[in-house]
Structures are given as C-alpha cells and as structure tokens.
C-alpha cells in the first residue's frame, strides 16, 4: 500500500551567527517550506511574556493599563518556554494560570524620594525564577556599559510618586498577541542567478558600460579597472527591480543580462528580540512545524467513521 516517497533533502549553510541574528542559506526545497518556517518563527514559536498585572499602588503619570501594556511588551528570556505548559492546558492549577509549571511571578516596587527624576526600568522587575528575567541588551564584554545600562524604561517618577505591582508572566505564541513573538524580523529572498551576455557586453563602449552599471539602484555590477569588463560584484544586492534590464532595452541591447530567481535556494535573515537565541529560534520553528504536521494526521477514528458508511462507499469505490 505504501506509495513511493517524494521526500526532499534540504541543505543548510550558515553565513553569520550571533545570539540575536542569524543569516543562512537554505537549498533543495521550495518556497512553501521556506515560507512555513518564516511564518512559524514569527507567530508560533512560544516565549514567555507578562500577561496579568495586579497594580497595588500607581501614582505615576501613566494610567494602570498603559503600564500593564508596556510590561507585556518587555522581552523575557524564554529558553524554558518550549518545555513549559500553556496556562489553558495546565492541569496543576486548573487554568487559573498561577502555578510554577505555567507561570512566573514578578514584583516591582519603586518610589521616588528625591528631587531627581527616577527611571523605572525592566531591571527593577524582580523575578521569582532566575531563568526568566527581562532581556539584558548590554554588551557583556564591556563591563562599564553593563554597569550603567538601565534596561527598558517603563515609566519615570517624580518626588513622591510610587509604583508597586505584581505581574504574572505566561507562555504564549505570537498568533495570540505580538508580545509573545520571539522574532524581530524574519525574511527570506530567492538567490538570484545572473548571466551577462559577454559578447553583447563587449559591443558596448566604456561610457555605455558605466551608464548601464550606474542604472542599478544597488551596486550589483562594477567595471574591472584593469580589463574594463563588467563583472558581478554581489548578486544578492539585486532587488529584482528590473532596472538594468529596462536600461539594456533602452540602450537597444535586449538580452544583455539575464536574471533568474533560483526557485530552490533561499537566503534567510533571522533577527530575534533576545527572548531566545536566533539559532534556537530556527530549531524551535522546525520542531513546532513538525508538531503541527503530526496534529493534522488522519486519526484512526476519522477513518473508521468513514468505513461505517461502508456499503455506499465501497459501492462508489468499486465503480
């Protein structure tokens, strides 16, 4: 019964990798997989974010919900998120979402006691779990800057103003609210395949070559100072704007250059908010996509229910 397999074997090559940014090539697959990965990274990889705020005292200039919204948008380190439970299907706390399996508690206490304005920042949030804390954007190699760095400003207080609150952070996904999205930007582009018609190019004068090279809004082509030949500097700078093709036609040289998008090669750029590492974001996205596919498999009872129609079905299939 088993059909032939139509599986593909994609290849990956990493070009750049930092904690918050990754650039890699994905080959031997199609745009549907590339786009599914991009969509999952943006909207379905879970992180932890503040979801419930109980304000005890707020005499600041911002109203309660304004502050609650700002707290929600603060990225929290979320390496734990994949292993955590969603509050809605946590059986340890019957869905009130305040147990250790599905939530993390934060406290914030700040009062301004002198004439200088007090900045209340993400660093003033005290977490109940040392693995879930507001993301620290300071450079770890630069000791001085990390000493001075004050985190993300939530509100500013003048003398006598006070802010005191309790916040519950929960696991969630970007589909629910963008505050749970671990991705700042995820993009992919088709790799361009550029062919210059050398014979036709040689029929151009150096002045014409210069004009043609200049017609591209990005610096894709250049002229070799020694041989005066037009060469491709960086094909990936091409934005599929067609300007060089239009220019070639305007110069009466259609077909001077041929540019094709390779339909099975993609260049990904992944930027993370800091909640999880960019490399981990890609791996988590693959896992989530696999889980989604597992969930849409035909279940036994769906097929069984169909077989009960039996008679009619068999008759139809028998033809």
């Amino acid at each position: 019964m088993d059909g032939v397999s139509y599986q593909r074997f994609p290849r990956v090559k990493i070009r750049e990798l930092r904690d918050d940014c990754a650039k890699f090539e994905l080959r031997d697959t199609d745009a549907s997989i590339a786009n599914a990965l991009r969509r999952v990274m943006i909207a379905e990889v879970p992180t932890i974010a503040i979801d419930l705020v109980e304000i005890e005292v707020n005499s600041s200039v911002l109203n309660d919900e304004f502050i609650a919204h700002r707290l929600g948008l603060i990225p929290l380190t979320s390496e734990r998120a994949m292993g955590m439970r969603f509050s809605r299907d946590c059986d340890a706390c019957d869905g009130d979402g305040q147990c250790e399996y599905c939530s993390v508690e934060f406290h914030l206490r700040a009062k301004c006691r002198d004439d200088q304005t007090l900045d209340v920042t993400s660093k003033d949030l005290v977490s109940s779990d040392h693995s879930v804390v507001p993301v620290d954007y300071s450079d770890p190699s630069d000791y001085e800057s990390s000493e001075q760095s004050r985190g993300i400003i939530i509100v500013k207080l003048r003398r006598g103003q006070e802010l005191r609150l309790r916040a519950i952070a929960r696991k969630g996904i970007g589909k629910d609210h963008a505050k749970w999205s671990p991705a700042a930007t995820v993009t992919f582009m088709y790799e361009p395949d550029i062919h210059i018609n050398e014979d036709m190019m040689e029929s151009l004068t150096i002045e014409e070559k210069k004009q043609w090279v200049e017609s591209s809004p990005t610096k894709v082509f250049d002229i070799d100072p020694v041989t005066q030949q037009v060469k491709v500097v960086d094909p990936e700078l091409y934005t599929y704007d067609d300007e060089v093709i239009k220019k070639a036609e305007a110069m009466g040289k259609p077909g001077l250059v041929e540019i094709r998008a390779k339909e099975d090669s993609f260049i990904f750029t992944v930027e993370s908010t800091g909640a999880i590492k960019a490399s981990q974001l890609v791996l988590n996205a693959i896992d989530i996509l696999k889980q989604k596919l597992d969930a849409v498999r035909l279940s036994e009872d769906t097929v069984e229910a169909d077989d009960q129609f039996g008679e009619l079905g068999a008759h139809m299939r028998g033809g």
Binding site: R11, V40, L283, K290
Partner: protein, 116 residues
C-alpha cells in the same frame, strides 16, 4: 465588542475533530479534508507536497474566510492511490524532510561554532 477571542484562532473547540474528510459524491478518488484551526502555514506546504505525488491529479487548499479558523484541502487522485493515502504520504514525506532539515541545521551549527 463582538470580536472573537484570540485563542479561537488556535484552540480546537471541544467536541470537534482536528481533521475530518468527506468523499466527493460524484467523482471517485476525490475528497475534501477539513483541517480545523490551521492556516496557510500547513495548507500551502501540504498542497505543494501533494503536487509532487504523480498519483495526485488535483490538490488545492483554501482558507474560506479569515474568521473561520479552518482550511479545506481538496485532493483528487488516480485509481492507483486514494486521497487519504496521498494525504498521509504527503504528511509523512514532509515530516521526514523536516527531520532531515533539523539534523542538517544542527550539524551545520556545530560545524560553524567549531570554526570560530
């Protein structure tokens, strides 16, 4: 005011099945699959994978309405296969492809980190 709750987009309501299908009443080896709480992410990769199957004569998906959180996948196959078989095969192949992708990404990650 009357906006649906945000979780409606990804939580399958109790009593409904994630996947159900209905055979076409007029064409043999054709069926419509209804997948609850899924969107273009799954719909499009399924469709493209089904197109790679030689026994699939037609495969398409649609998201009927932005506020109906489900997709419809329609498959028509030759008599050598069946829509259910093609559907399962497509999911298995995608699953294996993602396994391979995960392994190659991890290997590349290890290689890249070693070289620094």
């Amino acid at each position: 005011m009357n906006a649906p709750d945000r979780y409606e987009r990804f939580v399958v309501p109790e009593g409904t099945k994630k996947v159900s299908y209905e055979r076409d009443t007029k064409i043999i080896n054709a069926a419509s699959f209804t997948v609850e709480r899924e969107d273009h992410t799954v719909g499009n990769i399924l469709r493209m994978q089904l197109h790679r199957d030689d026994n699939v004569l037609f495969a398409g998906y649609k998201l009927p309405h932005p506020l109906q959180y489900k997709i419809l996948v329609r498959i028509h196959t030759t008599s050598q296969s069946s829509p259910m078989q093609a559907y399962n095969q497509a999911i298995n192949d995608l699953d294996k492809e993602l396994d391979h992708l995960k392994n190659s990404f991890e290997a590349e990650l290890a290689r890249f980190q070693r070289s620094f």
